[in-house]
């Protein structure tokens, strides 16, 4: 630790502190084998999703693209993962599908975390009737059967990836609201919050300086754990036929594999790759999220 710095500006110190905090997170993540492999897998998928146009041309996804190809052909040099029931390259669909699945998973999570944090923060900080009402709404979303609600909303609101992400986000914030509220309740009883109030701080100061920095790590860790759920939900909706017909998500690939009878025809190259991709990404996000949770949550990290 550098103890004595000749002249320290407050801003320079804030940066030094952030850099140190980041370095600590990075170091602990490097030492966490499962969490770090999760991160590497995610980076791999992210890279593929970003470079999709370089790997396969988007025109390969069109129904017309498979006109001259064999239907349900097994893997070959030309089609590394074979073709689907109308002769389209499955690898191309898989690569482009990673874009849709990751986009919807992450965007839905952002929506869920934003709503959840806001509700949790208000319900935890403001006591009284407001909190009671918010908690009632939260309970409703916790217990209401999630899939039917998502299906109904998806049908009503339309099926573009953005609306799908909004629908998924809107139906999966309840858990994080609970989590954030609990943490806010605990934080606002801390001695340093009382000290800040005695110094003359208003709620704005208390929330911005003490409550939010205290819940932020929890929110980040929680977010990485919501993403896999959102990806699974998107796959489920697409598999059930409520997804966006025009974007090739992994769930839609599975839907196609199922309706074309690939399982009875033993065309494993059709249903296995998207299934494996979903499982791998979900697992990677979970490993990474659990690692972040361990690092950020003092109770788990044993600090």
């Amino acid at each position: 630790m550098s103890d004595s710095v000749a002249s320290i500006s407050p801003r320079g110190m804030t940066w030094a502190r952030r850099k140190r905090a980041l370095a600590r997170v990075w170091r602990e993540l490097r030492n966490d084998r499962s969490g770090f492999s999760g991160l590497l897998i995610l980076l791999g998928f992210g890279l593929v999703a970003l470079c999709a146009p370089l790997i396969a041309d988007r025109s390969l996804l069109l129904a017309a693209a498979g006109r001259n190809n064999p239907d349900l052909a097994g893997p070959s040099a030309k089609f590394l993962l074979g073709t689907d029931d109308i002769g389209r390259d499955i690898l191309a669909q898989l690569v482009w599908g990673s874009r849709v699945s990751l986009f919807i998973g992450i965007f839905a999570t952002v929506v869920a975390v934003l709503i959840g944090s806001l509700v949790g923060l208000v319900a935890g900080y403001v006591k009284g009737k407001v909190a009671t009402v918010l908690l009632a709404i939260d309970n409703f979303f916790l217990v209401v059967p999630f899939l039917p609600l998502a299906i109904v909303l998806a049908v009503i609101l339309g099926r573009s990836p953005v609306t799908l992400a909004l629908v998924i986000g809107f139906t999966s914030w309840a858990g994080s609201a609970r989590l954030v509220r609990a943490q806010v309740l605990s934080l606002s009883e801390r001695g340093y919050v009382e000290r800040a109030r005695a110094l003359g701080a208003n709620s704005r100061h208390v929330i911005l300086r003490h409550i939010l920095p205290g819940v932020a790590p929890l929110i980040i860790a929680n977010a990485t754990l919501i993403v896999p759920g959102a990806i699974l939900t998107e796959s489920t909706l697409s598999f059930l036929g409520f997804g966006d017909r025009l974007s090739p998500s992994w769930g839609k690939l599975l839907d196609g594999a199922q309706s074309s009878g690939s399982i009875t025809l033993n065309a494993w190259w059709y249903y296995l790759p998207p299934g494996l991709c979903i499982i791998t990404v979900v697992l990677a996000f979970t490993l990474f999220g659990r690692a972040l949770e361990r690092i950020f949550d003092p109770r788990l990290a044993g600090r």
Partner: protein, 333 residues
């Protein structure tokens, strides 16, 4: 000796008949009279120790002075004016009255560096000029020097005593005129207690800052306090200069407390018997009568005051500032 009026004219803090009652949670339950008629004045630069066992209302009283607790009756005047209730007035008031809590570890945000913690008060009050200089000076004044060595540290890298120094420095940057120290050393090692108390004493002297030390430990305050106030069940039952109270305790409760702490006084050890005090059912007559050794030993009856003890609530005599007074019927015979 100066008159009462003159004292109240330049008193920094004046509490008159302060009551704080907590309504019962259950319907039909009785009200808890946590603070039940407290009179107290503090002069600028004066250190007063408020002593009492847990549950006697001393922390509630401290919170009431800070304006964090609503009074159910009575007035608190700071610098001749009642504590403001509007936001701007409150903020200005908070600048002048600061508190140091019992547990320095809990009072410090573990995610903030010493610099940010000490500067917090300045930032809240929008005073950012010379921030670095003021923070360093406050830290060094509180015994952490050179300040640069501590600025970037985090609370968990400091010892308990150093943490409490940081808390005190954080209060001192606002240059308060009254510091309330709620059990400031009870969570610290015995070896650093004296140092922290000495620091409070020095700060009070240098900055002409009044300090109200709230403690349950009669063994501690006597080396720094100018006056001691003993609190029992929501009321001050004895008050006087430190020497008077410690050497010639008047109230049987104070005597009982001192008998177990100060062996040199050679008081017969008295362990109080009877129910522990309960602010929801303060007894009729003197609030101390269920536990009073004088009542239990029959001494009160011999003195002919037993009926008074059981029926009349003794009041503190009207006092001069440094008078040694106690609320006990045995003193008025």
């Amino acid at each position: 000796m100066s008159s009462n009026k003159q004292y109240s004219g330049n008193a920094l803090l004046e509490l008159r008949d302060v009551h704080v009652a907590y309504p019962s949670r259950r319907r039909g339950g009785s009200v808890a009279r946590a603070v039940d008629g407290v009179q107290l004045t503090l002069q600028p630069g004066e250190i007063v120790a408020l002593v009492g066992e847990s549950g006697c209302g001393k922390t509630t009283l401290a919170r009431a002075i800070l304006g964090l607790q609503q009074l159910s009756q009575g007035t608190i005047q700071f610098d001749g004016e009642s504590i403001p209730t509007d936001a701007a007035g409150k903020k200005l008031f908070r600048r002048q009255v600061q508190i140091v809590f019992q547990d320095p570890t809990a009072s410090l945000n573990p995610r903030q560096s010493v610099y940010e913690i000490v500067a917090e008060g300045l930032r809240i009050h929008g005073n950012s000029e010379n921030e670095h200089k003021i923070v360093s000076a406050a830290l060094e004044r509180c015994g952490l020097h050179p300040a640069d060595r501590y600025l970037l540290r985090y609370p968990h890298e400091l010892s308990g005593g150093q943490r409490q120094r940081v808390v005190i420095a954080g209060a001192m940057v606002l240059e308060p005129r009254l510091l309330i120290a709620d059990e400031p050393v009870s969570s610290l090692d015995a070896s650093v207690r004296g140092e922290i108390l000495k620091l409070l004493q020095d700060l009070a002297r240098d900055k002409n800052m009044a300090v109200l030390v709230v403690t349950h430990d009669l063994g501690l305050p006597w080396n720094i306090a100018d006056r001691i106030a003993v609190m029992y069940l929501g009321r001050i039952v004895e008050i006087g200069t430190t020497e008077d109270v410690l050497a010639r305790p008047k109230h049987p409760y104070t005597r009982a407390l001192l008998s177990v702490v100060h062996e040199h006084l050679q008081l017969e050890q008295q362990i109080l018997k009877g129910d522990t005090p309960d602010p929801t059912s303060i007894s009729r007559g003197c609030r101390f009568n269920p536990r009073c050794p004088m009542v239990q030993s029959g001494e009160a009856e011999r003195l002919g005051i037993l009926q008074k003890c059981l029926n009349d609530d003794p009041v503190l005599p009207n006092k001069q500032n440094n008078d040694h007074i106690a609320a006990c019927h045995a003193l008025n015979i």
